[in-house]
Every structure is written in C-alpha cells, then in structure tokens.
Amino acid sequence: MNAPARPDKLIRGATGDWEIVIGLEIHAQVTSQAKLFSGAATAFGGEPNSHVSLVDAAMPGMLPVINAECVRQAVLTGLGLNAQIHLRSVFDRKNYFYPDLPQGYQISQYKSPVVGEGEVIVDLPDGESITVGIERLHLEQDAGKSVHDQHPTLSYVDLNRSGVALMEIVSKPDLRSSEQAKAFVTKLRSILRYLGTCDGDMEKGSLRADVNVSVRRPGEPLGTRCEIKNVNSIRFIGQAIEHEARRQVDIIEDGGTIVQETRLFDPNKGETRAMRSKEEAHDYRYFPDPDLLPLELTPDYVEDLRGQLPELPDDKKARFVRELGLSVYDADVLVAERANAAFFEAVLVKQDGSPRDAKAAANWVINELTGRLNKEGRDIAASPVSAAQLGTLLDLIGEGTISGKIAKDLFEILWSEGGDPRELVEARGLKQVTDVGAIEKVIAEIVAANPDKAAQAKEKPAMIGWFVGQVMKASGGKANPQAVNDLLKRKLGIAD
C-alpha cells in the first residue's frame, strides 16, 4: 500500500504530479440454484415476484435457513484467492430503509466475515505483474429491483433478486491506475469462472463493483476517498476512475477539499456525480442477526474443499509454458477464459490419448478459431468447429496430407458446413500433392513458359520464390511446398 509511487502511473496536475489510490468492492453473485436463506430460485429474469418465497418478501414470522452450497462456494472462492478461511463467522443485520429491501435490513457479515486476507496476482498488458491484497470476502443477500421508468410518480418493485447470495470481495487499496483496476477485475472474474462460483456475467449484474478512489501527492498519506457505486462493466470502471481522479485533482488544486461521499457513474456522460441522499450519512446500526447462529466450519471441511480446487489460471499458465513450451503471451491468452483453455486442452489430445503439437494447437485456437469467433461475436461454447474437428485438421497438416494453406480452406468448410475433416479432404480433393512426377510436370511447364525468369534465377536464387508461387497456384495450393522447393532447385540448377 505504501510502495514508492511509480512515475509512469502518476497523473499530471497544474501544480505537479498526483498518485491515484484505488480499492474495489466487488459484488459477485454466487452460483447456486436456490437463494442464500430461502428455497426460491435464483434464475435471472422471470415474471415479477415469481422467484420469491415468503422469507424473501420478509413476511412476519419467516426465518432464514442458510444454503450450504452458498457457504461452500464462498469458501472455495476464498481458497482460490489464497485467503485465510475463518472457521467461525457471524451474520449481521445491516439496517436501512428502501422499497426493494422488504426486511428493512440486509443480512450480511460485518465484524466476522467467512474469508479473511488473501491475494491475487495480476498480469498487466505491459508484461508487468502486481500482487493485489484481498482484505476480506463475506456473504450477503442481494436486494430486489426497483423500476423507475414505468410511471411518472410511482416505482415498481420486483423481489426476484431479493435474497440471492452475493460474495462481497474487498481489495486492499493497492491499485494505482485505471489500467491496474481493470486488469484486477478481469483476473478476479477469470478466477471466479474457473472456480465456478460466479458466472461473471456483468451484463446481467452477476458482477458489479464499487470503486473507491482518492488522490495524493506521491509519498504522502492517503487522501479522502469517494466511493463510486455499482459500476457494471470493466470499461466503465476504467472511465469512472479516470474521471473521478481528475475531478479530485482539480478540486484540490483549486484550493478545495474532497468530501467523502458516494457517487454514481453516468456511462452516457462519462462522469461521476454525487448521489442525492448524501446529506443523510448512512447509519447501518449493524448487530448480529438473532435468527442465525454463527457459521462454524471444520478444518476437515476446508481441507476437503482445498482438494477440490480446479487448476486456476496462474497454475495453468505456468504449466502451459513449462510443459508445453508455449510462449507466455500465448499461455496468457489461452488461460484467460476457462472455456478457451478447456477447448485448447481438448484439441491437444488425440483420440488414442497421445498428445498433439502444442504450439500448432495454440496457434490454431488463438489465431484462426478465436479470431473467427470474435469476428462473429460468438462464444467458444458456440463454436461451429469442435475441438475434435480442429484436432483432426492439425493431424492432417502434421501428416503432410494437407498444406497449411489448404488447412485454412478446410477450416472454412468445417466452420460453415461442418463434417468429418478426413472425409472432406478425400471427397473434395484437398490432398496435398506429394507425387514427384505430377509436381515435376507442372514445374516443367512453368519453366518452359518463362525461360527468361529461369535464366535469372540461376544468377539470383531468391527468384525461386516466384516459381514456388506459380507452381502452388497451378496446383491449386495442393502441392507440397517443400517438395516444390526441392524440385525447383534441381530443375533451375540452384545449389542448396
């Protein structure tokens, strides 16, 4: 937190440089069927007030009963964040009035959260890595949803989200730029998706961030912070930080002081503004919820979950580099999304269990497949080309049955029409020509038709490239390029 300021991370003001200090509170919806304290469904959408039990609507006499799966997911997440798991934690009531909070309080964890300090390693686009401290993770209930645009003087309240389990993950104020903050959220989201504890779908609100921003002169104590509530995309997190830091610097340089307050980010204007109710400082009057006993876990339970942790992106990346010989960049790209990594690993393995060439597989998954998926805005889960098909395509290249160029044509056929790659190669005559006689025949024709160029090639061996191109063209890309090269050299009298 008090590491020396990095000059390249500072922002310039009229009176000198300023350091931005950022901490994040991420609200991540726990992946579960039922809610945290009731048996109603967590499914997104649905008719208003359909996924609501009498507990979620806070009818008198209803009592909360904790969903064991939500606890398991929180502990698993804590382990994935290299964090301390608290064997005893307590649920508290956070009291406030709002129409979408029928209880009049949110059940949360205040003094004793289920997960304590941890850390996340974040790789930045420039290749640098930073370690971001996790302060805590606690379980809490989501609130309902208020709809304000249906009526000029009335709000409509839907409690479908009320009581859905959230994990609030609080970072330490270790972030120093919008880039770092965005990279942190991206990494955290990736970890959650690997763990399967949150789907990370920011459009559906499964992951949202409260962003705490302050500025200070390098080396000085922390400045007064403002909290920007409920930012729901990674891009907006970056924009909100940029705007808020600039706003604070301008105020201080004009002789003003920062007032600690809660602000909202307006994506349309790209700016933050104060929330209206700031004059009424929140007083949540936390106290232990008398309806719930402390949450007690056993060391065996925690160790059992530790044993169930999947391979997380950091470990997977290290393994891809160490064991498969991939570049750090390629490994980074492949592990960022769990689904992409799984697809790549499926491509790697032949039907008989033996491995394929990892670099070629990485190349095809990253460049051809992901490139094509991105172009069409598709998810890898909806890829028209399966891992098995792509694997066979790689085999066909490896065996010399098709050339790299034809492979791209084959990929297009697989993408748009589907089918068995081997049968397609056979049926459509895509096989690479390795028949020396056939290639020699083509070469002879081209050399005969271009006697001047053939003469030049003897003087200037680089000219061979032009002949290779012509032969490949004449063969429809099916001639084996190596064979063409060798035969041409002999024909033109170029020494190796």
Partner: protein
C-alpha cells in the same frame, strides 16, 4: 449512557417513525429509563466470557441447494396496498 433530544429525533428518523416535537421530551425520558435499567448489566464482570449467541448449544442448521419455494406471485403481493402485474407499487424513489 443516556440520550438527548437530538438523538431521539435521529433514532426516530432512522426507524422511520414519525415523532411529533411535543413527544420528544417524553420519549427521551422513557428511553433513558430503559437504558438505565439495562445499564445494571454492566455491573457484572464478563471479562473472559464468550458472548452467548444462543440459549441452546447447537450448530446452525443448513439447507441443501434445492428449489423448494417461490412461484407464488399472487400470494407475495396479496397484502400490498398497491400492485400492478405482480409488481409492488410504491411512491417514486430514485436515489
């Protein structure tokens, strides 16, 4: 520990209870009487005693992650003073 008029007004506001100005002094007296009564507990030495969280020594019961409830929107909004299409309808609140 005791409360003054300002605190009484604040507590009432936080609890969203309308308290008329002429009721404040009376409520202050009542609240202070209650606080004084509870204050007697501080005479007990509880150093080294774990706070009691339940009168029965038991662990918290939990539930399996199974959907067993909900899909009763008619029941949920039945008592609402105002409703439309299964929404609760309230005076406009925008924060």
């Amino acid at each position: 520990m005791s409360v003054d008029d300002k605190t009484v007004r604040r507590i009432a506001h936080l609890a969203r209870i309308a308290v008329a100005e002429d009721e404040v002094a009376h409520l202050r007296g009542e609240l202070n009487a209650m606080l004084a009564f509870v204050e007697q507990l501080s005479e007990v030495d509880v150093s080294g005693v774990e706070p009691m969280t339940s009168v029965t020594p038991m662990r918290m019961k939990s539930r399996d992650d199974v959907i067993t409830d909900g899909e009763i929107p008619d029941d949920i909004v039945r008592n609402a003073p105002a409703r439309e299409d299964h929404f609760f309808v309230v005076p406009k609140v925008v924060e």
